[in-house]
Amino acid sequence: MRRALPLLLPLAGCDTVQSMTGGDGRQGALFNDLFVIFAIVTLVMLALVLTGLIASIFRRHPAKSSVPGENDEARDAPFRPLLIGWVALIATGLLFLTTATYLTDRAMQARAPANRLLEIEITANQWWWDIRYKSSKPWQTIRTANEIHLPVGIPARITLKSNDVIHSFWVPNLAGKQDLIPGRRTDTVLEPKRIGVYRSQCAEFCGAQHAHMALDVTVESWADFNAWRVRQLTPAPAPATPLALAGYNYVTTRECASCHAIAGTPASAQVAPDLTHLASRRSIAAGTFPMTRGHLYAWIADPQGAKPGNNMPVVGLEPNELHSVIAYLETLK
């Protein structure tokens, strides 16, 4: 038993922020149930087959006849009902699994309710996620990056697009994978059942930094979600300290503003992650670093260090510029 313990070690990874078996979302739970049904049915059948095989080894053989085929009839007679039962069992089992698969698939495909409470558009880029919370009122549209917040129990309709190559959107805790294909629109529905913090990972190899393309998923209560949404709708606060003001001047007039946008400032380019509420996120650079001051310094000073090949260039900031830029970015809560 003690020797078998290391074999159980991988199971320890099954109950984390990135787990397929948690059943934290409706689709994920449905799929998990189907998996359990399949496991039970196939294991029972395996046990039956093995029992039969082992029994056949220990069965007493009748005396051999010199004429081949003479004893076959008498020997096989008692097994005929068993054989018919076996075929019937296999047919029933396959029919059962097919029906279970069909019903699960229908249940997963079931459309979200008509009231479109929550519509999110996710655009994949090499190697980050561009997020838009859509609304019929343009001033209530939220743009963020590398994080989504979802209210618990409410289905979110998600439209998926790609700007460059094929990516795949996968929140293992909540639902299955869905590809993001350039030139096409695909969609999926996320319906979280449990409040929690989950991690999504690009699930289709998309280039050198495929592994560093994660998405933070926060499932929270409707009240918390609305508070988050209201906060996201506010523009960036004006810099309060002289250092932050210097950073504001740099960020909004120099290289940063050529690609990034910060709502409420002149920086409005759309090709890189939106920075309006950067400091309120949990991670930097699509899940590459946790959001801390030290990691912000490392990322801005040398973006090509931990994530070589990404499209953020080494700007070559002077130390005083770096200090002020970080001081400003940290105010973007």
Binding site: N115, R116, L117, S135, S136, Q140, N163, D164, P182, G183, R184, R185, T253, R254, E255, A257, S258, C259, A269, V271, D302, Q304, P308, G309, N310, N311, P313, V314, V315, G316
Partner: protein, 174 residues
């Protein structure tokens, strides 16, 4: 199969694997030292940017991102001069194009110094020169990176066109 034949097969495979090395990329874009003795042959950065497909592809990306198309279209020109012919108002060498991008030129070309990094300017210059087929042909991509995207006819569920009159604005509860 004789053992000698097998050995030569293995050697051949080993030889072929030498071609597997990936093109070297320099993601940080360290500026190369300018060798003054070689000035006659041009800036040493010419080769580092112009003859590397990666740099051309990055330049192509930036060409769209920095809205070069706004004036130069996709090389055919518009408000700005065309870039796909062999006429260069301010010189067509890499250094000249980089200088044009970074410092701007009279009558409309804005200066991008401080808006993009020097590395990006060199990548852009390499791509601009590739529009008139200046770099080596084996470096050029055979097609643009970006697809021309129109919505496919296969999408079954389309956004409904709602007939909105000013008197009855559509209102959603959210």
């Amino acid at each position: 199969m004789s053992s000698r034949f097998r050995v030569s097969l293995i050697l051949l495979a080993a030889l072929a694997s030498a071609g597997c090395e990936r093109e070297q990329r320099d993601p940080r874009g360290k500026p190369l030292p300018e060798d003054q003795s070689n000035v006659a042959k041009g800036d040493p950065r010419d080769n580092a940017y112009e003859n590397v497909s990666y740099q051309l592809a990055q330049g192509q990306r930036l060409y769209g991102w920095m809205n070069c198309t706004g004036c130069h279209a996709h090389g055919g020109g518009g408000m700005g001069p065309p870039l796909m012919d062999e006429e260069w108002r301010y010189g067509g060498r890499m250094e000249d194009v980089v200088a044009t991008i970074l410092n701007g030129r009279p009558n409309g070309m804005p200066a991008f110094k401080g808006r993009i990094t020097e590395q990006q300017a060199w990548q852009l210059a390499a791509y601009v020169r590739s529009l008139s087929a200046q770099p080596r042909q084996d470096v050029l991509g055979s097609r643009p990176d970006k697809m021309s995207t129109t919505e496919p006819a296969t999408i079954s569920e389309r956004e409904k066109v709602v007939d909105e009159t000013p008197a009855l604005p559509r209102d959603e509860k959210d």
